[in-house]
């Protein structure tokens, strides 16, 4: 709000740039940790993303853990009832989609859903509040929505990717995994003159299946990142327009509330679906 006036000669594009810049710490060539001079450096940590994502994860663990500690099979308290609604919601989806028997998938889905929802929800805090408060205590950059950081969404989707491969190998064995990568979708001929074509078909299958496999975490993370990044960008743009931002912000926030919930749900749903695909025979 009114940031143009307060931050001196900052132009609109500088304002947007500033909002899209992570607070970063990295190891430079001299081996020293430096702040915010990290373009192109792989040894970088986005401190703000990590801080908010871990903070929100801890909030999730704390609230749900509190409910779990005091959970009773008798008359539930209000917190327990609230937590149970979410747990039951996730549980019914997992039971509908995932037919294997796993102690991991349902808690994974619950964690992903609530955590991603909380991270997305940071988007609804007016875009200048936390960065300005941070500037007040000397932190130059602050991006408050972890899911607008492609590293965060990729970090989660890669964990899911590892789980996909783990479950594929667990249920079908290494041979089954290799077969899945090479014998589908076109079955190579096993005898006759067609045998000459078999290596090409296998190579073709391998390329196709690899693309399909890699597309899963890629689409999973980029979908979440894209939606939230775009939403955040629009909030920033709205913040530039002056007084008219108030109705605009309200309208977009109401709409964004839908996106926040929906994206968290989709992320959870696809996580379950991918793992369920990995554990089922074709």
């Amino acid at each position: 709000m009114a940031s143009e006036g307060e931050q001196g000669a900052q132009t609109s594009s500088e304002y947007i740039q500033h909002h899209l810049q992570n607070l970063q710490v990295c190891k430079d060539e001299a081996g020293e940790w430096v702040w915010n001079q990290c373009a192109g450096n792989l040894m970088t940590v986005n401190v703000d993303s990590m801080f908010f994502s871990v903070l929100l994860g801890v909030v999730f663990i704390w609230v749900f853990g509190k409910a779990a500690r005091t959970a009773t099979s008798g008359t539930p308290g209000k917190l327990q009832a609230f937590v149970e609604i979410i747990v039951d919601f996730v549980d019914s989806i997992v039971k509908d989609t995932f037919h294997g028997n796993s102690r991991v998938v349902a808690p994974l889905a619950l964690t992903v859903f609530v955590w991603v929802f909380l991270m997305n929800f940071m988007d609804l805090i007016p875009v200048d509040w936390l960065p300005m408060a941070a500037a007040g205590i000397g932190i130059p950059y602050l991006k408050v929505v972890p899911t607008t950081d492609v590293n965060v969404t990729f970090g989660m989707s890669i964990s899911v990717f590892v789980l996909i491969i783990f479950y594929t190998i667990k249920t079908k064995g290494v041979g089954g995994f290799v077969r899945e990568m090479t014998m589908h979708p076109i079955a190579p001929p096993t005898r006759g003159a067609g045998l000459i074509a078999a290596p090409f078909i296998i190579a073709f299958n391998l390329i196709l299946e690899t693309v399909a496999l890699v597309a899963k975490p890629l689409s999973l993370s980029l979908r979440l990142f894209g939606n939230l990044f775009a939403g955040e960008l629009i909030f920033i743009l709205i913040a530039i327009v002056g007084v008219w931002q108030l109705p605009l912000h309200f309208g977009w926030a109401v709409f964004h509330l839908l996106i926040v919930t929906l994206q968290a749900f989709i992320f959870m749903m696809l996580t379950i679906a991918y793992i369920s695909l990995a554990t089922e025979e074709h």
């Binding site: 940590v45 663990i61 959970a71 099979s73 808690p107 955590w115 590293n151 970090g155």
Partner: protein, 156 residues
């Protein structure tokens, strides 16, 4: 926007949170929910069973009451017939007793009468003999006519 270490950090954070959720959050909540489901199911089943039992008891009670009523009627009937029997028995006993008394009295009377008749007969014969003696004292020797006299006495 560039990929960097945050990616790994986020992966680790996710693994930790998921592990924590799997270990300490999901099982107790799920247990509580499932336990409550079982309790509610058991409660409903118990209520249903109770209802059925009530129905059954009602039917049973009805049967018992009907039985008791029947029994009571039977007892009443029996008592009536018993009473009748006693009364009729008493009656017949009375009649018998009366007959017996009557017969005894009759026999007594007869006996008495016979005895009186015997006495009377003796006395009459004695009187007759005495009067005949008196009449005949003059003309008849008692010894001579004794056989006739005794014949006469026997005839009387």
């Amino acid at each position: 926007m560039d990929p960097n270490l945050t990616l790994i950090g986020q992966s680790i954070a996710m693994i930790v949170f998921v592990w924590f959720c799997m270990k300490f959050i999901w099982p107790p909540i799920m247990n509580a929910i499932e336990e409550r489901q079982e309790q509610i199911a058991a409660g409903l089943a118990a209520a249903e069973k109770g209802q059925a039992k009530l129905e059954q008891s009602k039917a049973e009670a009805k049967g018992i009451i009907a039985d008791a009523r029947k029994q009571a009627t039977g007892i009443l009937d029996q008592a009536h017939s018993f009473a009748n029997e006693i009364v009729s028995e008493g009656k017949s006993e009375g009649v018998k007793e009366r007959d017996r008394q009557l017969a005894a009295a009759k026999a007594d009377i007869e006996q008495e009468a016979n005895r009186a008749r015997e006495e009377l007969r003796g006395e009459v014969s004695a009187i007759a003999i005495a009067s005949a003696e008196k009449i005949l004292q003059r003309e008849i020797d008692a010894k001579q006519h004794e056989d006739i006299l005794s014949k006469l006495a026997a005839e009387l």
